[in-house]
Symmetry: C2
Subunit: 624 residues, 2 copies
C-alpha cells in the first residue's frame, strides 16, 4: 500500500497518509479539528483546504466555486493525496473549538447569584472540613482512619468513610507530619460522606466545582466557589465533535464507523480545555476543583461516559442509560482532583436529556399549579409542558444556526459578535458584544437581523430578498445576501445569505411545529399556558419581540413570556449547591412522559406551515 508524505500548513506538521485515506481523516487523527458540520459527507462544504504542492484527487461535490477550484481548494473529506503533497488549512476552515471566550464571557456568568437569595443553600456536593484531631494515647489508641472519620462526622453530623486505599495508605504520615491538623475534602453518598482528599493544615477556603453544559454545538463551563457559592467565571467553546457532524445523528453514525472513543476523547478534551482556561485565569489549583456537574442531551452524556449510542438512532430509539452514577474524575481523565466526582444528572429519554431536566428545575415548572411551557433552544429544541402533577416532553432537531453555527458569518456570543440588530429611521444598525469591531454575528443578533429584514420588507415571508428593497442586498455566486458594514472599520462586515435565513427558518419551524403538536396531543391551546419559559445560551440579550416576529416563539402576551437564559447551567448550579435536588430531578424524570415526534403523522404538516415568517397562519401571530 503506497504511503504519501503530506505537510500541513500553517501547523508545519508532517504525516504519512495511506492510499485512499481522506485528508479529513488523516488531519483529524493528528488532532487538527475542522469547521466541519456534515461529518465528512461532502455536503456542508466547510472543510476547505488549499493544495500548495503535489497531486490530490478530489471527488466533485458542487460545494466549491469555479474560482476556488482554480485556486487549488479542495474539500478535505472528499480528497486524498496521490503523491506527496503540501496543503494549507485556511483560517476560515480551522475549528474555533479551542477559542475560549475572553473577558466578555462574563455575559455567561449569572452574576445575580447571591448566597442569601437561596433558601436551599444548605448542602453542596463537596465540602472541605478542617479538623484538629486528638492524637492517640495508650488509653485512647484509636486508629487513624477512625480518629479522622469521627472528627469529620462531628462537624458534618454524618458518617464519614475513606474508601480509596491510596488516601488511606497516606493517612498515618500526613497526620503525624501535621500535628494531626488536616483538611478533608468530602463528597456525599446517600447516607454518608466520603473523604476524597486529605491536605495538610487548613485549606478549607479553597474548594471549587465546575458545572458544564455540553451542547451539541456549544460547551459552556462555569467555575463555582463552593465557599461563597458564586460563579467565579465562565468559559465556552464550540463542541469539537462538530468535525464529526453538526447533528446528533451524524455523530452517532461517525461513532459507529470510526469507533466511539474519538468522540469521547474530544468532549473530554473540550472540558479539560475549558477547565484549564478557568484555572489559569482565576489562578486556582485544578486539584482544588473537587466536583464537575455535567448536563447535556442524552447523546452528549453518552459520549462523555463513552457509552454506546447506536440504539439511540435505531427504532425504538433507546439510550444505554438516562441516569448514571457519578464517576471519578481520574477514571474519565478530567483534570481536577482525580478522586473528585463527575456527576451526570438524570435525563428523561434518548432524546430529552439532563439539560432539560435541570431546566425544569430552574424554572420551577414542577412546582406550579398552573400549566407552563418551556422551550430550550439549542441544536435540538426541547419542549416541556406541564405543572406540578404531570409533565410531557419532546425534542425537535433544529440544527445549530440559532447558536451562530451553520450561518456563514455566525459565531458564538463573544467579543465582536453582533448581538443586537435594529432599524432606526430606515437604517439598519447593530451593537456588538463589548462594542468591539465586528467579528461575526451570534444567535440573538441573527434573530434580530431576520426580524428587522422582515419588518423593513427587505425579505418576504418566505425569507427571500425582495428585489430592489435595499442597496445592501447583493448577489454573490448566485446567492443573495444583506451586508452590515462596520462604519469605523472599513473591511469589517457581516452578511446574512438567503441560505442562512433558510437554515434559521427551518430551525424555528422545527421547534414551533413541535410545540404545536404537543399542545394538540394534550388538547391545550396557547391561552391555557400561564407561563412560557424561553431557555438557551443566548447570553442576556435575546430580543423576545424579534423571536416572536420570526415565529420562533408563539405570539403571547409579553408578561407571560420569560427569557430564562441558560437554564442548563442554572439548574446544574442549583444541584452543585444542594445535592438534595438530585431527588427533585429524579422526581421530575419520573413525572415526565416522553412523546416521540417520530410517531406524529401531522408533524410534517405543522413544520411546513411554520416555514414562513412568522407562520403560514398569520392569525397565530395577531400582534404583528
Amino acid at each position: 500500500m503506497p504511503k504519501f508524505t503530506v505537510r500541513i500548513l500553517p501547523y508545519n506538521k508532517t504525516t504519512e497518509i495511506d492510499d485512499c485515506v481522506t485528508l479529513l481523516e488523516a488531519l483529524l487523527k493528528m488532532g487538527i479539528t475542522f469547521n466541519n458540520l456534515c461529518g465528512g459527507n461532502g455536503t456542508c462544504g466547510r472543510c476547505k483546504l488549499l493544495v500548495l504542492e503535489g497531486n490530490v484527487y478530489s471527488r466533485g461535490t458542487g460545494k466549491l466555486t469555479a474560482a476556488e477550484i482554480e485556486k487549488g481548494y479542495v474539500l478535505a473529506c472528499q480528497s486524498y493525496p496521490v503523491s506527496d503533497a503540501v496543503v494549507e488549512v485556511p483560517r476560515g476552515t480551522m475549528a474555533r473549538a479551542k477559542e475560549t471566550a475572553g473577558k466578555d464571557a462574563d455575559i455567561f456568568v449569572d452574576s445575580g447569584y447571591k448566597a442569601e437569595d437561596y433558601e436551599y443553600l444548605v448542602s453542596p456536593v463537596t465540602r472541605k472540613v478542617f479538623t484538629r484531631l486528638e492524637g492517640p494515647t495508650i488509653a485512647r489508641s484509636i486508629a487513624d482512619h477512625q480518629n479522622l472519620c469521627e472528627a469529620v462526622k462531628e462537624q458534618l453530623k454524618l458518617e464519614a468513610h475513606i474508601k480509596d486505599s491510596g488516601i488511606l495508605m497516606g493517612l498515618p504520615d500526613i497526620l503525624r507530619q501535621n500535628n494531626f491538623e488536616v483538611t478533608s475534602t468530602v463528597s456525599f453518598e446517600m447516607d454518608y460522606a466520603e473523604i476524597i482528599g486529605i491536605e495538610a493544615k487548613n485549606t478549607a477556603d479553597k474548594n471549587y466545582s465546575v458545572i458544564v453544559d455540553i451542547g451539541t454545538t456549544t460547551v459552556v463551563a462555569h467555575l463555582i466557589d463552593m465557599n461563597s457559592y458564586k460563579s467565579v467565571n465562565a468559559k465556552a467553546c464550540f463542541n469539537s465533535q462538530g468535525a464529526y457532524g453538526r447533528e446528533l445523528t451524524s455523530r452517532i453514525i461517525s461513532a459507529e464507523k470510526h469507533g466511539k472513543d474519538r468522540l469521547h476523547e474530544l468532549i473530554i478534551q473540550d472540558i479539560n480545555n475549558l477547565i484549564e482556561s478557568l484555572v489559569i485565569e482565576n489562578r486556582i489549583d485544578p486539584l482544588d476543583i473537587n466536583a464537575v456537574v455535567c448536563v447535556g442531551n442524552t447523546v452528549m452524556t453518552h459520549f462523555l461516559l463513552n457509552l454506546p449510542t447506536y440504539n439511540i438512532r435505531r427504532y425504538p430509539y433507546v439510550a444505554a442509560s438516562v441516569d448514571t452514577s457519578p464517576v471519578r474524575a481520574g477514571e474519565l481523565k478530567i483534570n481536577i482532583n482525580p478522586k473528585g466526582l463527575i456527576y451526570t444528572l438524570p435525563g428523561i429519554s434518548a432524546w430529552v436529556g439532563s439539560d432539560v431536566t435541570v431546566g425544569v428545575l430552574a424554572c420551577g415548572m414542577h412546582k406550579r399549579e398552573e400549566i407552563s411551557l418551556l422551550i430550550d433552544i439549542g441544536t435540538n429544541g426541547e419542549i416541556v409542558i406541564g405543572n406540578k402533577q404531570w409533565l410531557v416532553a419532546t425534542s425537535a432537531s433544529a440544527g445549530p444556526s440559532l447558536e451562530g453555527a451553520s450561518v456563514e458569518c455566525g459565531m458564538r456570543a463573544e467579543e465582536g459578535a453582533i448581538e443586537k440588530v435594529f432599524a432606526e429611521e430606515g437604517r439598519i444598525l447593530y451593537k456588538t458584544i463589548g462594542n468591539a469591531p465586528i467579528k461575526g454575528i451570534c444567535g440573538s443578533g441573527i434573530i434580530d437581523f431576520i426580524a428587522v429584514l422582515l419588518n423593513e420588507k427587505i425579505i418576504n415571508r418566505s425569507g427571500k430578498f425582495i428585489k430592489g428593497s435595499s442597496k445592501e442586498v447583493t448577489c454573490e455566486d448566485g446567492i443573495n445576501r444583506f451586508t452590515l458594514k462596520d462604519g469605523n472599520n472599513p473591511g469589517r462586515f457581516v452578511y446574512l445569505t438567503e441560505n442562512d435565513i433558510e437554515n434559521v427558518i427551518a430551525a424555528k419551524a422545527a421547534i414551533y411545529a413541535a410545540v404545536k403538536i404537543l399542545l394538540k396531543r394534550l388538547s391545550l391551546s396557547f391561552s391555557q399556558i400561564s407561563r412560557f419559559f424561553i431557555c438557551g445560551a443566548f447570553g442576556n440579550h435575546l430580543n423576545l419581540k424579534s423571536a416572536v416576529a420570526i415565529g420562533l416563539i408563539p405570539d403571547l402576551a409579553p408578561e407571560n413570556i420569560e427569557f430564562a437564559g441558560n437554564t442548563a447551567i442554572k439548574g446544574s448550579k442549583m444541584f452543585a449547591l444542594n445535592k438534595d435536588f438530585m431527588f427533585t430531578l429524579k422526581e421530575i424524570c419520573k413525572m415526565t412522559t416522553y412523546y416521540d415526534l417520530i410517531g406524529a403523522n401531522d408533524y410534517v404538516e405543522e413544520f411546513t406551515k411554520a416555514m414562513f415568517l412568522p407562520h403560514t397562519d398569520i392569525e397565530e401571530f395577531a400582534s404583528i
Copy 2:
C-alpha cells in the same frame, strides 16, 4: 559491583547475586519461600542451605552443628556468595506455604451448616438475579440501564444501580444478543444493590463466595455456595509471610526495611493459591466467585490492604484503620470476578483484629446475660471477657508452636499429622489424620503429647525430661527428645524436643497470664465466668482435658468449657450469609474496650508463674 551467578537446586534456577546480598534475600526475590521464622536475624536456624560448589561467606550463629558445617550447610540469611556457586535448598528448609490441604481438609469444613438452622439466612453479601426484561418500544422507550435496574429492583425490593462504566458500556449488546434475558450479579451497599456483573441467560445457580481467615501462621479459605449456603470445600496453607518472621513485629520491621509491598503481595498470592485449589478441585469458574470475606489480626488486614503498619509497633500502638470499606477484587488483584468485593470486617484495635470480632459474634457472647470468656488460640492469643453490656479484650504474643510451626516435627492439621496422643497400659499411642502414615504432628497432637508425657512422668513440671523415665527418650546434639515411631512404617517417626516443649510452655504461659491479668483488672474470678469458649484452627480434635492438663486453659468444670473451633471462619460465614451482621460487628467493636498488656506491670510475674506444667500455683488446677 561484582555479581555472582548462583544456581539453586532442586529448582535448577539461576540468578545473579550482587556483592553483599544474602542468599535469603536473593532467593526470596526469586519467589522461593523458606521455612524461616526469625525474619532473617540468624536466630531461628531454619533457613539452612547446602553449598555444593563455589565459595559462600557465612557469619557464625551457633545455630548449625559442627557436622552440618562440615557437610557444607550454611544459614541463607547469614551468607553471601563470594564466587559463582551452586546451592541446594534441603527439603526441610522449603516452606510448605503452597502445600494446600488434600481431601482431609474436610476437617476444616464445618459440614454441620444447614440453611434451615439459621434464622438469619436472609441477606447474603452477593446474589444473582435472573431477569426477562420487556424489550423497549416507542411507547415504553425505557433506557437499557433503567430497564434492567427496575427488573432487578422488583425482585430484590431494593434500588439497583450499575456504577461500573465497563459493565454499562456492554449492557446494550448483551441485552440484545440474549433476547433481553440476563443474570445480574449484585453486591449490596447500605440502601441499594450494585450490579457487579451481567451474564447471558440464566446463571443464577452459579454464585460463590470465599471466606478467608488470615492467620499469622496459617491461612484458611472456605468456598461457600451462595445458593445452598454450604461450605463446599476448604483449603489451608502456612502464611508465606513466615519467611519474613514468625511474629507480627518481625514482619512489621521487615516491611519497614524492605517495603510493605512484598508482604502485601505474599498474602495476596496465598489467597490466590487457595482460591485456585478450591476452583480446580470443585470445577467452578473463578469468575463465579463474587465476594471474598477476609478476617485476621489487624497487622494481617493491613498487609492485605497494603496499609502502613509501622505505628502498630510504636507507642501508642495505633492502626491505620480497624474498619475499612470493601475493595474491588480487581484492585487487590484477587482472582475472582474483578468487580466483586473483598470485605474486611471491623476489628477492635491494632492488636485485636476482626478474627476476634467475628469470634464474639459466632459465640454469641455479646447477647448473653452472664459473663463469658473467649480465648482465641493462635500465633497471638486473644482474650475477650464480657456479656451483652460490655466486653474487654486483650492480646498476648504466643508464637506459632500451638499451630504446629516452630516445633521441629510440627505441621498443619492435614493427612498424616498426629492429631491425638494417649497412653494405654504404659504405652504411648497416637492417631494420625486419615490414619495415614506419620508425616508430623499438629497442634492438638502436640498438646496431647505434652499432657501425656507429663502424666506418665516422662517430663517434669518444667518440661524437662526425667532421666531414665522412658527408653524412647534420647539425646541428639545435646538436646533431649521423645520419639513416637510408626510401627507399620519403619523410618516414619515424630519426636518432641525439650526446646519444642519450652516453646509450647511459653505460648500457653503467655495466654494464661493474659487471662489472669484481665480477670484481675475486672475484679473477677474464674467462678464468675459462666461460659468459656476455646477457639482456634485445631480442626475438631482439641482435647480439652489435655489443654487443661498443660495449663493452656483454666481448670474449670468441663460443662462450662466449649471448644468452639475456628470461630474466625464461622463468624465470617455468618456475615457472608447475612450482611446485616455488619451492624452487629460494628456494635461489638463499639462495646469492646481494648486493654493493652504493655501497661500491665504484673504481666511478667503472671507469665513466670505460668511457665510450669500446668502452673506454679498447683491449686489453680485442683482437678489434676
